[in-house]
């Protein structure tokens, strides 16, 4: 039995769809092509998940998005794999053209302290306990490596890329509440190789980059992305009285994050306010029109600058050691 159930060629605004067997209770639906990372394809995955939530299919139990995929769980006693695929094919036909897709999307603003001492502590522990000669550890941090790997002139240019864009939560996963964010402005694209081997400890609230994604660590945990800063707690799993206790998972799939730079001293004070239940997270309800993204990306100046930055990164990567 082949792992690929069937494929559907792209048509009328629909990306290519590959349906794969993921056991006897799930189908993995992949959109578009393996490369490049394409936000439009992620928007399509979100639109499909939303459409399925609005028009439930009997026997389909839950869906979980990825960067370019949806994992669809079903109850085989109610619906067969073949019927799941048929239902999804019909669903995909109902998704509008990308320029017409509008998704539920809140805007959240989070403070970030770059090169904070908790991240440096994690990097230092890694250097001592795991890999003394890791090329991604420069002067006790990962930021200088990120700067070099992306062909940036200095740390300020790096911070600018983080601060000058909204970050789109392409999916939540790995740990409970962990968002994987992509920049909505193509000029902010940053790529980072992962740790090798993985890091044993990462502080809660750490902000890190790996592959094309920016992540925020909801809990203390292992990790393999390059650390560069810290923000507020983004989960409240044990339901202590905090200001976002209404929703223990702060960042949902499809939310947009804007980072505002603060000093580490300021961040520590804000974190204290969160723990004491005095902090109100900046959350604006709203929707996101994919047309806005397409418009920005098709602006010739933006596209040219994004391309130039990509080329600079490509050249820089040749000279930088991968962990």
């Amino acid at each position: 039995m082949s792992a690929i159930i069937t494929t559907a060629e792209p048509r009328a605004g629909r990306p290519k769809v590959t349906y794969r067997t993921a056991g006897d209770r799930a189908v993995l639906v992949e959109y578009g092509h393996t490369i490049p990372v394409d936000l439009s394809v992620n928007f399509f995955a979100h639109a499909s998940a939303q459409h399925l939530a609005d028009h439930p299919v009997r026997g389909v139990l839950e869906v979980a998005p990825g960067l370019r995929s949806l994992l669809v769980y079903y109850d085989p006693a109610v619906i067969g794999q073949d019927r799941v695929v048929v239902a999804l094919e019909e669903l995909h036909d109902d998704i509008p053209e990308p320029a017409s897709i509008v998704l539920p999307s809140r805007r959240l603003t989070l403070p970030i302290a770059f090169d904070d001492s908790a991240s440096r502590e994690a990097v230092n522990r890694y250097r001592i306990s795991t890999r003394p000669d890791a090329p991604n550890v420069v002067d006790g941090n990962n930021i200088d490596y990120l700067v070099r790997y992306n062909g940036l002139p200095n740390r300020e240019a790096f911070a600018e890329r983080i601060l000058r864009t909204e970050w789109w939560n392409a999916f939540t996963g790995f740990y409970p509440g962990l968002p994987s964010l992509l920049p909505l402005d193509p000029r902010s694209e940053i790529i980072a190789p992962k740790y090798n081997p993985a890091r044993g400890w990462t502080p809660e609230g750490a902000v890190a980059l790996g592959g094309p994604c920016l992540v925020i660590h909801p809990i203390e945990s292992v990790g393999s992305y390059q650390l560069f800063g810290r923000t507020l707690p983004i989960s409240n799993l044990v339901r202590q009285p905090r200001s976002h206790r209404i929703d223990p998972i702060l960042i949902h799939p499809g939310d947009r994050i804007t980072f505002v730079e603060v000093t580490e001293g300021e961040l520590i004070e804000l974190r204290r306010q969160v723990f004491e239940g005095r902090y109100d997270y900046a959350i604006e309800p709203g929707r996101y029109a994919v047309a806005d993204h397409l418009k920005l990306g098709s602006d010739p100046e933006v596209a040219a600058e994004a391309q130039r930055r990509r080329a600079t990164r490509g050249a820089a990567q040749e000279l930088v050691k991968v962990p």
Partner: protein
């Protein structure tokens, strides 16, 4: 509202020796929340937990204890029924051997002792009549250790913990699972899998997948509720690199993983367990059939070996219906 006030739960067990990593689990666990980053948790051996519950008259999915390696000791604080499933031998009540796979009457002050499992199998399940009473977290009573949620304070049990149970409700029939229906444990397993989602021809070569099915895989000592890891194996792979996702051909753009998926983490295969991370950027080359997941829960780290056998959806459905039969209380004997 605490579990104790919710259902008039009362103290049922006081832990003397919690063993290796005993946790409270229920079934089917934390379903429906993978999009928020939750894998289901729940028992690694769902059959063991559900049968233990049915034996004492509980709902099959009620909260019970999962006891890896078998070692455990507790004082009974409330008269009622208990049942233990899993590898036999070495379980006593006040020093007298008690049978597994059947409900046992216990009285206040009784001491239950379970020795380390010496033979085949790895996890025992202990159900008490009424079910263990702990608060739900995100829709389940199951413990998720990495996030510190569910179960008893979000952690493995410790000495002197007191666990509550819900009222058992009326006189209950003691049940026994017929010997012929009990699972067979071994140190050399055959586990049924379905090919994919990322197998041949686009990720692995056809020869790679044949090698996967033909090889004998040894469970690494570093295996637990998050996953069962196997000895490294070098596949040829059908592609030369992982493109933008990373250097190794097992890398892909991050995707949500299916529970029971067999992940190729570079050259190391891992069966994703109930507490695994929910997503990542590696290929899942095959997925354990739902009805075969219980076997994964009985794999002993550092000792057992596994061969994977490919089945199709019809065979998976047949296995599932057989499993459903096993949980039908009408097939149980009364004691």
């Amino acid at each position: 509202m605490s579990a104790r006030s919710a259902g008039q739960a009362v103290p049922a067990l006081e832990i003397i020796d919690p063993g290796l990593q005993t946790t409270v689990q229920d079934y089917p666990g934390r379903r429906g929340r993978q999009a928020l980053g939750f894998f289901p948790s729940g028992p690694v051996d769902p059959l063991g937990l559900q049968v233990a519950n049915v034996l004492v008259g509980n709902r099959p999915g009620a909260a019970a204890l999962e006891i890896p390696l078998g070692r455990f000791q507790a004082v009974i604080l409330r008269a009622g029924l208990i049942a233990i499933t899993g590898p036999d031998a070495g379980v006593t009540l006040n020093g007298e051997p008690v049978p597994l796979w059947e409900a046992v009457s216990v009285a206040e002050g009784d001491v239950l002792s379970c020795a380390v499992i010496r033979g085949a199998g790895y996890r025992r399940y202990l159900a008490v009549s009424g079910g263990i009473a702990v608060d739900e977290a995100f829709g389940s009573r199951s413990t998720l250790l990495v996030a510190g949620i569910g179960g008893h304070d979000g952690r493995a049990l410790e000495r002197a913990d007191v666990l509550d149970a819900y009222p058992a409700g009326g006189a209950r029939q003691r049940r026994r699972m017929p010997v012929s229906l009990r699972p067979h444990y071994t140190d050399s397993w055959e586990i049924e899998v379905l090919r994919g989602p990322h197998a041949d021809p686009d990720f692995l070569t056809a020869q790679d997948f044949e090698d996967f099915l033909g090889a004998c895989w040894r469970c690494d000592l570093n295996s637990d509720r998050t996953g069962v890891r196997f000895n490294p194996h070098r596949f040829q792979w059908a592609r030369t690199s992982g493109d933008v996702a990373g250097g190794h051909p097992s890398n892909l753009l991050d995707t949500s993983y299916p529970y029971g998926g067999i992940l190729a983490y570079g050259d190391v295969l891992t069966i994703l367990g109930p507490d695994s991370n929910t997503s990542g950027g590696f290929a899942v080359i095959a997925t354990v059939a739902h009805a075969a997941l219980s076997k994964v829960g009985q794999l002993r780290p550092g000792r057992d070996v596994v061969r994977f056998r490919e089945i199709n959806l019809h065979q998976a459905a047949a296995m599932q219906s057989h499993l459903d039969q096993l949980l039908d209380p009408r097939h149980f004997e009364t004691v």
